[in-house]
């Protein structure tokens, strides 16, 4: 184990590199979460659409993503797609992560959409709203609110999963930590440092999700 003073010395001296890496991790996470929400919502709606073929497409997607390791998906996207057209590393990593998170997010959203009382939709329809309008104005706002705790959980998983982008040579946090560690023959110090950065990011994400939850629960009070 490194001594405290050595740990803090290294923490501060390496902060430039790590902060740059942290920003990349943050970018990967934010892009993959945002794209993942869009993908997730799309597949959740396909699943509840009452059209068999669409529900089947959604089921298949979820099965494939949940049934294979994320690292395999990242490699398939990185090596496979790069053969067809050049996909920048950042986008290969973000899209793989988004594609992966999307499956879990779609299951979260499907569950919460279906948990909203059927009467809510009927009330909307009885006021002359179309299915789409009632979904957008009545059902989804309630479903998103209910989905926030599990979504927050998924976001944190997504953040930590972004470390796998190191394997396609993205200079995000984990990659920087292992590289610096082996260059300086000091793996443990750099791994402890990177753990601190992940904790900071997760804390930050948790605060954002909690703030949203509080803001949205205003109608309960």
């Amino acid at each position: 184990m490194p001594s405290f003073s050595h740990f803090f010395d290294t923490l501060f001296s390496s902060s430039d590199v790590f902060i740059r890496a942290m920003l990349l991790t943050l970018e990967l996470t934010v892009v993959s979460i945002l794209v993942g929400i869009i993908i997730g919502l799309l597949f959740a709606l396909l699943k509840i659409s009452n059209i068999k073929i669409l529900a089947w497409i959604s089921d298949t997607y979820v099965f494939l993503v949940r049934g294979t390791p994320l690292i395999v998906q990242i490699f398939i996207l990185y090596f496979g797609i790069s053969n067809l057209f050049l996909l920048p590393d950042f986008w290969a990593a973000s899209l793989a992560l988004a594609f992966h998170n999307g499956a879990y997010i779609s299951e979260i959203l499907r569950g919460t959409i279906q948990s909203i009382d059927k009467g809510q939709m009927e009330a909307g329809r009885s006021l002359g709203m179309s299915n789409a309008l009632a979904l957008r104005r009545i059902i989804l706002p309630q479903a998103f609110r209910r989905a926030l705790p599990p979504l927050g959980n998924q976001f944190i998983i997504g953040l930590k999963d972004s470390s796998l982008a190191a394997f396609i040579s993205m200079n995000e946090l984990f990659n920087v930590a292992t590289t610096l560690g082996s260059n300086n023959f000091d793996e443990m110090t750099y791994l402890l440092i990177v753990a601190v950065y992940y904790l900071i990011l997760v804390a930050f994400l948790t605060i954002i999700v909690n703030t949203f939850e509080k803001k949205l629960s205003i109608s309960d009070r």
Binding site: G119, Q120, S126, L127, G128, Q142, R145, S219
Partner: protein
Amino acid sequence: MEQKEMIRIRNLNKSYGNLHVLKDIDMKVLDSDVVCLIGPSGSGKSTLLRCLNYLEKKDSGQILIEGTEVEPGTHDINKIREKVGMVFQHFYLFPHMTVLENVIEAPTHVKKIPKAQAIEEAKVLLAKVGLSDKADVYPSKLSGGQKQRVAIARALAMKPDILLFDEPTSALDPELVGEVLATMKELALEGMTMVVVTHEMSFAREVGDWIVFMHNGRVVESGPPKEFFSNPQEERTKEFLQTTVF
């Protein structure tokens, strides 16, 4: 004066699988009338009401709304629903919106009237149901009776020609029933055309213009309340009225 026919039902049939819930229903609702649908649980009252708003699909027969036969294939059901409002047993207020937002939701997003105007109209409606002070409150803060009055205001905001009530007081604590019935009575006096599924016999007798008694998916007997309650013709009706406490 000849009253306009607001709703005309001919030979309406509806089944859920093998369960035949509505059998050859014939019924009409005249302008400004209050028609009360009564009968034991499972007699098909609520299903009939929901057919009028197309929340349930009929199997066969005709439904004419204000003289036009409406078919989901050829008519925009949403347009019909703007004319036929509905109040539910369990209110179904939108919990993520304040009372005022609940009331202006459909006018601003379906009819697309300006928000300022919708708010003005909503305030008038909330005053009418006695809830002006609750405009900015979320539904979770309201009592059942207050929720149902908001639901009535929300339905009225679309300026419907006909209002359907599906057991509007059945989910309420006994002491809250009165305030909702009072609001409904006021509407009836103003000439709103109403179809009410209810177990409140005194309301049916006092406010109803026409009573329809249903049993096992059929209309067994119908008539003006005076004759219906004092001199029922059918055996089933007599049995039902005897079991109902006034």
